[in-house]
């Protein structure tokens, strides 16, 4: 066996180990109720905002404290704490992907991904509307 073959095998083995260890880091999408079962485990929630409860955010008192309530498609509700500024278009977002952990009754969120017209993409709904007719 040539030395290069041995090295190749070693490197491939290393790559496999890396990928396997990476799969250990992977997380999962959960519902609110299944996330509550997995206290303290990092999960992803796909939810929408529960607008019956007002959003708490006051940059004067604390720019790094946002609290709001969400609901998933199965009706599970939970309140969310996010230690960061409030994303500007959050309330208009149709869907939120929250990454974080359930801690007691609260979802401690580390990242909010908004599923709304992304600023990086063309907004598909914007193009559905015609420009306003301003004059006759």
């Amino acid at each position: 066996m040539k030395k290069t073959h041995i090295i190749l095998l070693v490197l491939i083995a290393a790559a496999i180990v890396v990928l396997i260890s990476y799969t250990g880091d992977l997380s999962s999408y959960e519902t609110v109720s299944s996330a509550k079962q997995k206290q303290g485990k990092f999960v992803n929630l796909i939810v929408k905002m529960d607008k019956t409860v007002p959003v708490q955010y006051d940059p004067v008192k604390d720019p790094n404290y946002l609290k709001f309530n969400v609901q998933d498609s199965l009706g599970g509700k939970i309140s969310v704490v996010y230690h960061n500024t409030m994303p500007t278009d959050m309330e208009k977002s149709e869907r939120l992907v929250l990454k974080g952990k359930v801690q007691g009754d609260v979802f401690e969120c580390s990242t909010i991904v908004m599923k709304c017209p992304s600023k990086y993409k063309d907004n598909p709904t914007a193009m559905k509307e015609q420009p306003e007719i301003l004059s006759n």
Partner: protein, 817 residues
């Protein structure tokens, strides 16, 4: 006659249909011409007789010439449509508007898929012309593949229906053909379409004018090594490896530059606080580069020793295939949730998949058919030989690329197997913890690799030559470790250790290659391409390590408007305690770490960009500087705003700041005064501290108007962080009229009033307290200190120069391209 009911005969007013008709014609002609060219080049490539070859070659050249003309014409027409604001065309309507300056109108050109495919085609035309006339080794074979790629690219922009399936998406489609808005059935609809929807706000940055053309030149140029390798496989001829290196060096240089221009754009105009986020779009362009660099090295091994044949064919081919794969990933919408800046799905997924498979499957079939022809010498590589370590390095690069692309492909995996795997908690770190070791290995190999000779190197020679650079490296690193060190300890001692080793390895790369150039090559520039390239690569790694190891958030709230809320619960927060935002009130100097920061004013320019002026004062040196981060209301129906960072550049660090949210002082103030009873000497609490009544002043102002009386309260406000403010609300009495004099403490967002005397005997007064966030404009921002980021940018420039020098070296050596 009611024309509106019969759209076929409807005459629309003010449309410019001619450019579009020409556009359609040229894109269709381009499709035909590139197919003819590919076929004719293939015929010439396989011709047995010299006359056959000549006649086919002649036809092919004509066809490719037509192809060049059609692509350039389509390019010019689309530019014309955009720059003349012909909004009857959907491309102009949806990607541009009238307010954009010329350079941003060019960005509009490549904002959409269709335009970027045209750009890609355009570069192929340029490269193809050079290959046709300058390449000495089987140009017909190379052009055969290149023209075929052109054919597929042309199919992406034709926008016709074939057997009910939409093939391509034309940039020349009219708005009324695509949309079914009611107004579009009116003959005079164009008068209502006054402006386009504009260019994405985040793309309105000068890097976005130059980054896409460079990146697409990089993508297009990977086709050339691929085409060489394919021609070699067809003809069982390894001769291409003597000609491919100039092209491959050019490609790697340009692709690397294009990728890093994207990184510079991300650093300057996105606000994740960095230049690289392991986003799928970034990964997808990095991976072909890594494989291409590996391919360059294995090809050099082959030229010197005749080994690494299989690897060279594979890597040179794979680099292009990975470009196509990343095109598929970023344009098909399959990345969905995982990427922030993929293209919009145009419903061409099937076509993109065909584009991918039509190259991948035949290439691998051909590769395995020819497997036995790619003979490796039986002699083993000496462990002290240059080729041995070059091969190790190349394999490490390819495996690193494999890991990155495997992780990036998780959405594809989910799609195929119906799984639901989500990214890990810290996706950036998941990559970093692997790639840091790759960087260490590659850094070390590039440091000593050049000192080795092919076949065999006497150990004594290596020791002698490497002594000086090793000592210099150790000294530089030691000085650095003592005086700067690694500040990024969040990921534990293991990662800190890796960062230290990484810095050592990259310093070694820079020093050793510099020494090789001066000491061994005697400073000659003609053959210094590899040294310069490696110095640049070392600087890139060094810049990455240094900025990663000492990037710090400095917008920690050190006065802490929120000190009381900083309770134990929050510190225990399982997601850590980011708290990286600081709130600034207009006109209030706020303490922030090393600096005092004041939000002095804001201005809005004619494009509705709002600039915030922030005055930074260094607490120690009193040095002052201003930064102007800005925000721009998002367009295209997206809510919110996009924030553009600003940075103060020093030689050794950047102070990087961006607005995370802002709140305007609003006239309609709905917060009510809360009444509170107070006596002299009493204190009452408000949300952020307490208010003490010192005394009641009666007519303190001797110059008051006659017949008036004043009652003024002397209040002392103490915030919980210990700041004291004096406040003097009062009442002015004039006969029976009573007028309240409010007093405002902006820094505490507090308005105080003196309402009335409740009980004169007991000395009980009533004051009103209003706490309102709308008293003054406020912004929240994040501030980072990025050390040594310039080392990275310098490294990119040096590395690109190195690649170009290597390219010229190869051209000189072969006396041909």
């Amino acid at each position: 006659m009611n024309t509106a009911s019969n759209p076929a005969t409807l005459q629309y007013i003010g449309e410019h249909l001619l450019p579009g008709q020409f556009g359609y014609f040229f894109t269709l002609l381009s499709l035909v011409a590139s197919l003819v060219a590919s076929f004719a080049f293939a015929k010439a490539f396989y011709a047995n007789h010299i006359d056959d070859e000549k006649s086919w070659n002649k036809l092919a050249k004509i066809a490719f010439g037509i192809e060049v003309i059609t692509v350039v014409a389509s390019f010019i027409i689309l530019t014309y449509v955009i720059t003349n604001h012909l909004f009857e065309y959907k491309y102009a309507y949806s990607h541009s508007d009238k307010s954009l300056s010329f350079e941003y109108l060019l960005s509009c050109f490549w904002e959409g898929q269709e335009g970027s495919f045209l750009l890609w085609s355009f570069w192929h035309c340029v490269l193809g012309m050079i290959i046709m006339y300058k390449v000495k080794w089987r140009p017909n074979g190379v052009m055969m593949t290149l023209s075929f790629v052109q054919f597929l690219l042309a199919s992406m922009v034709i926008g016709v229906f074939i057997f009910g399936a939409k093939v391509g998406s034309s940039p020349f489609i009219l708005l009324r053909e695509e949309m079914n808005w009611p107004i579009l059935s009116r003959p005079d609809y164009l008068q209502f379409i006054k402006d386009g929807t504009g260019l994405n706000t985040t793309l309105q940055n000068y890097w976005m004018v130059i980054h896409p053309p460079v990146l697409f030149l990089g993508f297009a140029s990977t086709t050339v090594p691929f085409a060489f390798a394919v021609a070699g496989l067809f003809k069982k001829d390894n001769g291409w490896m003597n000609h491919v290196l100039s092209w491959a060096n050019f490609s790697a240089g340009i692709l690397g530059l294009g990728i890093m221009m994207g990184a510079a754009w991300a650093y300057e105009s996105l606000n994740f606080g960095g230049y690289w986020a392991w986003d799928p779009v970034e990964n997808a362009s990095l991976v072909p580069w890594l494989v291409l660099v590996a391919g360059i090295h294995t090809t050099m091994i082959f030229r010197k020793t005749g080994s690494s044949v299989k690897a060279s064919y594979l890597f040179m081919g794979l680099s292009f295939l990975l470009v196509i794969y990343s095109t598929f990933l970023t344009r098909s919408g399959i990345l969905g949730d995982t990427s922030v800046h993929a293209f919009t799905d145009l419903g061409m997924n099937a076509q993109l998949l065909v584009f991918l498979l039509i190259f991948v499957i035949p290439f691998f079939i051909l590769y395995f058919i020819r497997f036995r022809f790619m003979v490796e010498p039986t002699k083993e590589d000496d462990i002290s030989s240059r080729e041995f370590w070059m091969l190790v390095g190349s394999l490490v690069l390819v495996l690193s690329a494999s890991v990155i692309i495997a992780i990036t492909s998780i959405p594809v995996f989910n799609k195929i197997f119906g799984t639901n795997i989500a990214p890990p908690e810290d996706p950036e770190f998941a990559h970093n913890q692997v790639q840091v070791f790759v960087a260490i290995i590659i850094g070390s190999l590039s440091a000593f690799g050049q000192y080795l000779r092919f076949k065999h190197t006497p150990i004594e020679q290596i020791k002698k030559q490497l002594l000086l650079p090793s000592i210099v490296t150790i000294v530089i690193s030691a000085v650095f470790f003592v005086f700067v060190g690694v500040g990024y300890t969040q990921k534990g001692p293991g990662f800190v250790g890796a960062l230290y080793v990484g810095i050592l390895a990259s310093v070694y790369t820079v020093v050793a290659n510099f020494h090789y150039w001066l000491g061994v090559l005697k400073g000659k520039l003609k053959s210094a391409g590899a040294s310069v390239g490696h110095i640049g690569f070392g600087l890139v790694l060094l810049g990455i390590f240094l900025s990663a190891s000492n990037k710090t958030v400095i917008s920690f709230n050190t006065t802490g408007i929120n000190v009381l809320k900083e309770d134990a619960d929050m510190r225990k927060s399982p997601v850590g305690n980011p708290r990286e935002n600081i709130t600034l009130f207009e006109g209030i100097n706020t303490d922030m770490g090393k600096y005092m920061v004041e939000y002095t004013r804001d201005t809005t320019d004619e494009l509705n960009k709002r600039f915030f002026e922030l005055r930074f004062t260094d607490k120690k040196t009193n040095e002052q500087f201003f930064l102007y981060p800005d925000i721009l209301k998002n367009n295209k129906g997206a809510e919110g705003f996009s924030a553009n960072p600003d940075a103060k550049h020093y030689w050794l660090k950047d102070i990087f700041v961006y607005i995370t949210s802002f709140q305007d002082h609003s006239e309609e103030d709905t917060v009510a005064f809360k009444p509170a009873k107070i006596k002299i000497g009493d204190s009452i609490f408000y949300s952020n501290g307490y208010i003490k009544l010192n005394e009641v002043l009666v007519n303190p102002n001797p110059n008051r108007a006659a017949g008036t009386n004043e009652l003024i309260l002397d209040l002392q406000v103490t915030s919980k962080e210990g700041l004291q403010y004096s406040s003097k609300p009062g009442i002015l009495l004039e006969g029976l009229n009573m007028e309240q004099r409010l007093d405002t403490i902006k820094a505490q967002n507090l308005v105080l009033s003196f309402n009335k005397v409740v009980s004169q005997e007991e000395g009980v007064l009533e004051i009103g307290i209003k706490e309102s966030s709308s008293l003054t404009n406020l912004i929240t921002l994040k501030v980072y200190e990025f050390p040594f980021i310039n080392v990275l940018w310098l490294g990119v420039v040096v590395m690109t120069i190195g690649f170009m020098m290597s390219m010229l070296q190869r051209i000189r050596k072969n006396k041909a391209i």
